[in-house]
Amino acid sequence: MVDNVRTLEDAISAHVRDGDEVALEGFTHLIPFAAAHEIIRQGRRDLTLVRMTPDIIYDQMIGAGCAKKLIFSWGGNPGVGSLHRMRDAVQDAWPRPLQLEEHSHAGMATRWQAGASGLPFGTLRGYVGTSLPDHTDTIAAIECPFTGEKLTAVPALNPDVGIIHAQQADRDGNVMLWGITGVQKECVLASRRSIVTVEEIVDAFTPHVNAVILPAWVIDSVVVCPGGAHPSYAHDYSSRDNDFYAAWDPIARDRDTFNSWMQEHVMS
């Protein structure tokens, strides 16, 4: 087995430190829940959490007190409603205040691309006429040097740690994911350190539609973690647990039910 395969506990403890900027990505599909739970168990604090769609995964991390800041573009429970722990942190500073750095999806995707490309910023047609630039420092005007058109610039994302979940690693430590691949390639390539949890190790990859392959040498740790995306899913391995997403709403609505759920399902 290659050097970069280790346990989840080891990988998180080796790469995620208090105060780090950490991104756990996955767009609806392949959300690295198991890795988030390990970060919560290890009691990491003062994290700046980066993610386009905070989802239940960050609701849990925010409610558990890991985060001081959130960089994001859409903070809801997809198909269900609000993220109550995120809302409680923003509206009532519980369990601690949460700074927001708020973008649109297009802006975040551009920031990820710039980060993966080794550029300090990316350009898009976006934000013009909206209130976002009034509240978010990381949005600036930029002019096309050829046409004079006014466009928008956003700075690159380059977190300390990028964490994703994928379907497979091979015995050399290369990783393959497929189906909806989101911004996971960019997340790994833009981050200073990276962890990939996978459903399984295989002898050889077979072709899949829209497969993304990341070579072993851009990944710091690979962790075998079947089901590590639940209640999100891994295409061809599991289905999205829509019931859990619905059930999360009443759990997260109340601080006490949230705390006991976390105690029972994550901490122990």
Binding site: H29, G76, S82, H103, A109, L124, G129, G179, I180, V183
Partner: protein, 255 residues
Amino acid sequence: MTQLLDPTLDHTSDEIMTVEASRALSNGTVCFVGIGLPSTAANLARRLHAPDCVLVYESGCIGAKPTVLPNSIGDGVLAEHADVLVSVPEMFSYWLQAGRIDVGFLGAAQIDRYANLNTTVIGDYDDPTVRLPGAGGAPEIAASCGEVIITLRHSKRTFVEHLDFITSVGHAEGGDHRQRLGLRGRGPTAVITDLGVLRPDPTTKELTLVSTHPGVDVDQVRDATGWDLRVADDVSVTATPTRSELDVLRALKSV
């Protein structure tokens, strides 16, 4: 939340809103679809009058053909039957921003008379009354799609004089302001609610009530609007959902 408008009618207010939204999609249209009503309306259209409508979900699924209504914009069923799967950065740059999408569907927590939308926050940004999910894909869907269709329930809480936050630009301050901002799509062409349909005035771009749903009168719509609503000279009545529209819709929702 959904209600019968009139006990003699065979449909709910949410159903006519969905059906009317689906009618806005013509066959062959490339449509950017969000979860909830837009996804239901688009899938209804695809099963009725627009079988070649191309459904695009921001998760990267182009030409999705879900066999059941998805619960999220990234359900496996969307990827499974899509013509093309792309990454999220590619979706927003090569497809949405490049102007390849004909119609975008948006909802909102608040809308103003120029069809600008708020999905970010109610109250003060730094000390909010209600923190909403935020922008997601909406600002650039609103900016870059050929046209935008908005669906939301009609009430004084949602149809407001002044937005607490502009998440997505409709017609900005009206007239040609949207164009002057450099936004490339034509912007909102219809707002479909549970009470009726509003369209921007061709010149001022102020939303104007053009039809009410069966059983709804104009005063009801005025009362549910937080500004002095413009009403067309000849307000029509929205066509009642047909038997087949309702049957297909209910079959879709029942799975």
